[in-house]
Symmetry: C2
Subunit: 138 residues, 2 copies
Amino acid sequence: MNHTEIEKTLIAKGVRPTPNRILVMKELMGVTRPVNLADLEVALAPMDKASIFRVLDLFARQDIIHVIEDGSRSFKYELCHNRDHHSASDQHAHFYCEKCGKLTCLDDIPLPPIDLPRNYEVRAVNFMFKGTCPECRD
Amino acid sequence: MNHTEIEKTLIAKGVRPTPNRILVMKELMGVTRPVNLADLEVALAPMDKASIFRVLDLFARQDIIHVIEDGSRSFKYELCHNRDHHSASDQHAHFYCEKCGKLTCLDDIPLPPIDLPRNYEVRAVNFMFKGTCPECRD
DNA sequence: GTTTATGCAAATTCTTTGCAATACT
DNA sequence: AGTATTGCAAAGAATTTGCATAAAC
């Protein structure tokens, strides 16, 4: 996706395509696993931490990104595949490796639907597995 | 469960039954939803925050308690029902209400088994739903 | 007597906000 | 002109550690 397309995407999602937002978006599109604020700070240097934070905050409010807690001390962020958080295509589990600290998307694991009592209004879901990843098991 | 029984339980789980540990254990047995460090600090006053923290840290390492991240800024703790984290009886989802901040155990919702590739070694699981709880929907 | 546990204080880590300066409409 | 965005600095919130004292074995 080129620059112009990213701008269009951002507008479609309801945010003004400022330089910082485009850069954050581009970075998030390029990563293979969820990243935290510190990761982005390095990748997007010299962009300011607080500016990145505010872009992420906005993106989260606009349902452009998911915020994931894996038990490490920092939030991780990843692009939503689908604008609708409830859609099956936007739900996948994550695996947090307690040895190397890597958070992996388990895109291929189908998540069976879980029915909550209907008076619960679900906005987001986080399915987290923790343990040792294949690379660290050897 | 009385004092003596708690002591026995702690010994069975491999920790020495010190006064602080017994008090923390008793408190955890009395609560209906997962609690954070600040909650325990209030409930167990004047016990020191760091002391509570170290008891929780020990309990977690001994698989006596679960550590839960709900996206609020603090970890929540709850007793394991079963020593074996993998057993079905020790897995249940949680619901985090973004309005009131309460974290509820969804004990009655059966969790379908999810198979990960066998080279992943799973030690713990966190299934978190977020949104608005019944009480806050009205 | 040596190891283990505790309390106090402080360090750490990460997130979040205040505010002035800049850029956009 | 007026609103929105950004960067710098600092505040805030929660966890974690250092160290000296006290307790347990």
